[in-house]
Structure formats: C-alpha cells, structure tokens
Symmetry: C3
C-alpha cells in the first residue's frame, strides 16, 4: 500500500496515527490511567476517521455512481456509528443518545457556523444553491422532529410509561430506516440532480487503488472499533477528572471527534467559495444521523445491548436539537451568508457547550 | 332531483349512502352493538360529506362570487362542525378538542403529504404559486399559535386556574372569529387575486340546479347530524373494543372521516399537476378549523353544552399542532415539491398516529 | 436652545412635557398617590423618550457615519435601558425581566403588525427589501434563542440550581455583548450596505445643532432617570389598583412607554410606503434589546443591584418571545405585506396582552 504511506507523509493530521499503538500499549500497561487513555484515544480516533473517510471515497469513486453514492451515504458517519456501537455494547445508553443528539447539533451549528465564518473571512458575501439547501434543510427538520416525537410527547405527558416509550421507539426506528431507504432512492436515483452540487468527488485528493482502499476500509474500521472500546471505558472517569459531565462528553467531545474528518472538508470547501459542499456535508451528515445511525442503534440494541434502547432523549437535548435544526432551516433559507451569520451560529453552539459544561451531572 | 340520482350512479363513493338507513335501523334494533354502529356510521358519513361538499359548491356557483366564496369558506368544514356539535351536546369535550387539533394536523400533514406524494409519482418536480402558499401558511401558523396560547401558557405555568382558562378561552374565541371575518374580507374582497389559483370552481363536476342544491344541503346536513349522534354515542365503547384510545379516535378517525370529501379533490388536483388547488385545500381547511370551527364550538358550548368548553388542549396535541403547522410553513416555502417530501410529511403523520395509538388512555 | 423650543411648538406630543414638573411636584406632595403618580410618570416619559430619540439622531448626524451609527445603535433603546436600570436598583428583577421580554415581543408583534396594518390601509401590497429583512430576522431569532437557553434548559430539567443559572447567565451576558460588538462591526463597517435602507437619517425632522443636541441628550437622560424612579416606585401599587398583574405592566406598559418614540417613526414610515424603515426599526430594536440591553442589565446588577440578576425568565415569557421571533422570521420571509398580515400579528399581540392581564399574579 504505497498510496497509504504517501498519504500519511503528505497529511500532517495522519501523523497522529502514532497514537494508535500508544493507546493499545497504555491500555495494556496502565488500564487505570483513565484520563490519559481518554486523551490518547481521542488523538488516535481523529486520524483513523480521516483515513476511513478517504478510503470510503476511494471505493466510491471506483464503483458505479449509484453504488458509490450509497457507500458514501452509508459509511459517511461510520466513525460515529462504530463509537456509538462500542458504547451500546457497554450499556452506556446515556452516552449513545447524547452522541446522537450532539452529532446533529454539532453539524448544524458548529460545522455550518464555522464554514460560514471561515468562508466569510475570505469572501464578502457567499451565495449557494438555495433550492438544494432548502430541500436538505426540510428533510433534516422532518427527520429530527420524527426522532424527537417520543421524547416530546412523554415530556409533556405524565401518563407515558417505559413500555409505551419502548414500543414507540421500535416502531419509529423501523419507520426512520424505511424513510432513509426511500431518501437514498430519491437522492441517488430519481432526483439526483438536486443534490449534484454537494458532490464530494471533486476533492483535490487522488483516490487510492480499489485494493488498498478496501483493505484500509476494513482494517481501519477494526482499529476504530478497538480504540472506541478504550475510549468508552475511560470516558466516564476521565470526564469526572476533567470536571466534564457525561452529557458534555457525549454531546460535544464524541461529536467533534467522530466528525473531525468531514469538518476539514467542509471548512476547506467554504474557504474555496464552494459553500454548497459545506452546506451539503453539514445538513446531509445531520440528516443521516437522525434517519440512519439513530434507528440502527435502536434495532442493534435488541441484539447486542444488555437491554433494548429507546429513543427517549434528555429534555434539554430535545430543546437543543429543535433549536439547531430550526435555525439551520431559517439560516439556509436565503442562500447567502456572511461572516457574522457564522458568528451567531457559533455563539449558539458555544452557549450549548457552556450550558452542558455547567449542568450538574445526572444519572438518567 | 334527477341530478342527485345521476350523481349517485356515476360516483361509486356515493353507493355508500346505502349505509345511512342501515345505521338508523341498527341503532333502533341493536342499540348496544357499539363497534358495529361505529363502523356503520363512519361508512355513512363519508358519502354524506361528499354530497354536502358538492351541494355547497353548486349553491356557491349559482350565487354572486362574494356570496359563493363566503359559502364555500363557511360550509367547507360543515361535516367536521356537525360531528363536533353532536359531541359537544353529549358533553364529550375531549373528543371535540381532539377532533379540532386532529383536523389541523390531518390537513397539514396527511392531505398535504399525500398530495405531494401522489402528484410526485406522476410528475418529476411540481411547482406551485409560492407567494400564495406563503401567505396561507403564514395565516395558518398565526391562527394555530393563537389557538394554542392558553394551553401553552397553562402548561408551563402552574399558577393558572380553571377560571383563568375559561375567561381566556372565551376572549380568544371572540378574537378568532373577528380575525376570521377580517380574513374573509381579505381573501374574498380586498386581496382576492392572491387566492385566485386555489379556486374550487373548476372541478370537472357539473353544478346542480339551485333548487336541488339547496334541498340537498339542508337534507344532508340533517342526516349528517343524525348519523353523528349515533357515531358519538358509539365511539367510546367502540374505541375500547378496537383497542383505540379516545385521543386516537378524535385526532385521526374523526378528522379523516370528516375531511374525506375534500381530500379526494386535493389528491385529484395533485395528480393533474394543479398543486395550487391541493395546497389551497390543505392549508385553507386547516386555517378555517382554527379560526372558525374551534371558536364557534367554544361559543356554542355556552348555549348548548352541559358546561362552557375551554380551549385547553392536551399538551401532546399542542406539540403536534405546532410541529404540523411549522412543518407546513417550512415545506411550502420553496414552492416546489417532489415525491419524497410527501413521504416525509406522511412519515411524521404516521408517527403521530402510532404515538396516539400506543398512548395509554387518559381521563382528562 | 431655540431649536428645542421650536421643536416643542411644532410637535403636539412634546406638549406632554408639562407633566414632567407635575410628576416631581406630585411625588413631593402626595408620595402615596401611587395610581396618579404611575399615570403622570407614563405621560412624562413619552415626550422625554421622543426628545431623547431626536437628540440622539441629531448628534449622530453631526458626527462621522461610523460614530453616528454606533450612537444610534447604542442609544436607540436608551429610554428602555434607563427605566430598567431604575427597576434594577430597586431590586425589582421580575419587572426588569418582564420589560426585556416584553420589549422584544412588542417590537416584533405590535410595531411590525401595526406598521403592516397602517401601511396596508393606504397601499394594496407593500414590498420591502427581503434580503435585508431576512438577515435581520435571522439575527433576531438567534439572539432571542441565545437569551432564552438558560430558561428553556432549566424549565425542562429539574436538576438545575440557582448557582448553575447564575453562572450560565453571567457567561451568556459576556457572550451576547461580544456578539453585539461583532454585530456592530458587521452592520456599520464590513457589510453596511445590507442595512442601508433602514437608515433613520432621512426623517423629515431637521437635526439640531450639536451643542443643543448634546445638552438635550444629557439633560433629558437625567430627567428620564428621575421620572423612572417615580414610575418604578409607584408601579406595583398602581398595578394592583388598576387590576393589572406586574407581568402585564412589565411586558406591555413599560415596553409601549419606552418604545413610543420609535413606534411613531415606524408607523409613519409604513404610511409613506417605506416599509424597509419600519421593518428595520422593529427587528433592529428587538435584536438590540436581546444582544445589548439584557446582558448589560445582568452585568450591571453585579455592581449596582442588591444581588446578581440571572437570565431566568418566567416560562410563559419564553413561549411568547419564541413565538414572536419565529413569527417575525416566517412573516418577513416573503418581503411583501398586506393589511391582514398586520391584523394577524396584532391579534397574537392582543392574545398575549389578554393572557397577561388575566393571569393570576405571582411572586417569582
């Protein structure tokens, strides 16, 4: 795999790969150094996520357009999914749900906001395809609302029970996955022209040969899974040591770590005045979490989890996700942006971070 | 009335009229067969609603434009109103309020969603007059918000009392009816050109002579009222027999039964690529429920009801109506639709149905 | 200051200035006539606010554009700020917070609604710069959301504490002021062309000489501060005498009194078909309250108040502010208005007034 090594030499982010063996060694030698293990596993996941993202795109570019699109759409949040699966197996459902809600918020507020901000520093006013942005923001809003209905209803209604929430969550997960399948039919087949401008294919990286790409995809997924286990085991104690609540870790840290690779693409797109790419990554990634990652986790919990997981989110998370997706709808509505719009989106994100950081820890 | 009989021969939906005498006979002979009476009364109301809708349009087309518009606007939800009045007289306020909230949700999610879906199966992308859709969605949003304010405030504020809610509901009902009157002045007189494209007049049915139409209007209204009484009496026990909560019956069943006639027009409009008609029916009908039907029911309850009815909705209904109208605003904003947008609206509707079906029954 | 006296002769509103000495005399002679003192202080603040507004504009027009814009932006809500500071010093935090929330609601519903209504009575359909309106509505939505996050989170989450809310409010106040500073950089420096049409400079009043203007600014601010003290002292008892809740006084009365001068400009702009001016005043003023007045009051409370003030609003106020700003976003989205849109905005405002008037009084 000479292509892999060339890639590593050229991309300073990938030098962090050195932390992958360090994590495993430390986990073996000092299994109780939770804060250290937490930091090392974060540092190891970031470059692995970048490799995973590049490998997915390489495989996608070698296959037919439809299969490639399918791959990109399904594996785009693979890192997120693998980390959440590790937390699911460990029965840490609070962390799993926080990371799902956090990934939606991070994509719509932080990725979109920072793209507008960095793009706006270089370009006075940036325009993007508002028809496509509106369609994507509409999908995201509906997907998030669907995801949040059980929580909203049982928050306002004291008569709901655990059995009710669990049945509703299961039915909901099935509906969301059906909608996701139909959404791929829509965006990859019947109405692909609407999503054309958000094509990832035109990145300046050269795709790898299919053999290296497939091998990297398989190998790196296994590595992410292994590092994720260390991460999930250490995160609770590490959070306590750093004074962070589990909600903060799930919402902010996991979402930022899991999405680091995609963020780099979104920001560099914005700097090059290709805001369509950035908006597409931010909104598409958030929709995918709501329509695919979240229901898959619910269904998988029936097989691998210690008990079935429901889609009952912490009420504060419901408020944050609703505000974030509503904001994304209103903000992308005009099809233009300037740096201050980015500042405001980032400000709301910062306020969420501050709230979660200050919030007294909870059991639920 | 030869026109009435010709109509019945040509329209298979009207063959269901045979169930009208069957309902009355069954109610006489087997007054305790609640599940059967419920089914029969639903089957009888659907064709009566279709007749009522056609009779209204026939009378409207024979009178001056202004009077005709007024008639269409006032009697467009006559079936809904008559069913709700029967429930009101029986003191079933939970059912009345559920049917009001359910009619708004059904129109904005189901009628709009199914129109987008059926239209989108035949046409790649459909465009409609987005200026008019935005005005209508804006009216609907404001009307719904007004309707929900007492519930929202007393949900978040524990200090409210029954007396407070009742006084507020009465004042609100008066304000809503004044707004409705001004809204008709607006849409029929000062700014009628904004609403022109949603004209019902161009349906392919031929209008009846004014005599037949007026007689049908009067006679069918009486029949709907009589059948509604059977429906309202049987619905509680029938719901229990079918495992449905009263909330589900009011929200979903009554709204679908009462609006069946208009839905047919909306869907056939969408198939003919006349989405303006469909959007006009869906949003206009929902606005009319909020601005006219709901306040009329409150005011009438002071005269005919066992006690004054307030506008205090079940909190879950508040969430659903807010989500539905906000969604309608965001979705109609672009003036274009494709089949997947319909799928998403229907998915949110299905999730609401599922939630209401699973929800443990309540007294309130 | 001959210009001041000429102004007073020409502007009947300013004849109310006679109430300024009357207030002080009455406060001295009959310190317990609370209802009378309340009425007199309201009558005295209105003309003082008008003078303050004219003086600010005169100073602004004599300085460089950047300094002038800064002055207009900072002192535009000076009356509001001075009244709130008086209430703050008296420890009346409920009144302070109600007036902040009320000023946002009053600007977005009443000022916008009445502008649409009065403009629409004279002009069939009015168009305005929707790009600029959308940017401003977006800023307002984000600013309001930021302001409300502590309240929303602690409303839905029972685990929050006073210490949590206070720390969060302080951090939030700092963030909001930073955002406000960046917003001025944006609207006055880097992207001033977006806000050009909402320029106040083209009013038909002639600016005063700089000397008179500065003296008026200083003198009138002192007078407003003194009258505000009488107002704040008398308002609680007067409210009880008139059957008004403190929430109603803060939300409705203080906001209407403090904003009377700007409202006159907004309404006359609408009549002259310069709706950009009206929309700019309404949305700009509301944003300024959220981004500048509210955080300044929090920070000042650490120095002058009896105890630190937090940004924990009454839940009903949160609902009202969210509805108001969301409505403003949806309504200004189309860039056109007609009289009925104004009616609907005013109706929602009236419903809020009715709710607050009927609501049983609270301590919190």
């Amino acid at each position: 795999m000479p292509s892999l090594f060339r890639e590593i030499r050229n991309n300073p982010l990938l030098w962090l790969l050195v932390f992958v063996p360090v994590v495993f060694a430390t986990a073996k030698l000092k299994p109780d150094a939770h804060a250290l293990l937490f930091l090392l596993s974060v540092l190891a996941i970031v470059p692995l996520a970048a490799l995973l993202s590049h490998a997915t795109e390489s495989v996608a570019s070698k296959t037919s357009d439809a299969v490639g699109g399918l791959l990109n759409a399904t594996l785009g949040n693979l890192t997120e999914l693998v980390i959440s699966l590790a937390a699911l197996r460990a029965g840490q459902y609070v962390l799993v749900k926080a990371s799902v809600a956090g990934a939606i918020v991070t994509n719509t507020l932080f990725v979109l906001g920072a793209s507008f901000f960095f793009g706006g520093l270089k370009h006075h006013v940036q325009e993007y395809n508002r028809v496509s942005a509106r369609v994507q923001a509409g999908l995201l809003f509906l997907a998030s609302v669907a995801l949040l209905i059980p929580s909203a209803i049982s928050h306002v209604d004291s008569k709901t029970s655990v059995a009710f929430t669990q049945k509703l969550s299961f039915g909901l997960a099935v509906l969301l996955i059906v909608a996701y399948g139909l959404g791929m039919l829509f965006s990859l087949k019947t109405h692909r022209e609407l999503f054309a401008s958000a094509d990832h294919g035109e990145t300046n990286e050269t795709p790898w040969p299919i053999g290296s790409a497939l091998a990297t995809l398989a190998g790196v997924t296994v590595l992410v899974a292994l590092v994720s286990e260390v991460f999930v085991e250490s995160v609770q104690q590490a959070a306590a040591a750093f004074g962070m609540t589990p909600a903060f870790v799930g919402f902010i840290v996991v979402a930022l770590v899991g999405g680091a690779a995609e963020m780099t693409s979104a920001f560099s797109g914005a700097r090059k005045d290709r805001l369509d790419l950035s908006v597409g990554i931010a909104l598409g990634s958030a929709s995918q979490i709501a329509l695919f990652v979240a229901p898959v986790l619910v269904l998988v919990s029936y097989v691998f989890g210690p008990s079935p997981m429901d889609l009952q989110f912490w009420p504060g998370a419901v408020v944050m996700v609703l505000i974030a997706t509503l904001t994304a709808s209103l903000v992308t509505n005009s099809g233009r942006s300037a740096w201050f719009l980015g500042v405001l989106l980032l400000m709301v994100y910062l306020i969420f971070c501050m709230t979660l950081y200050l919030l007294p820890p909870r059991e639920q």
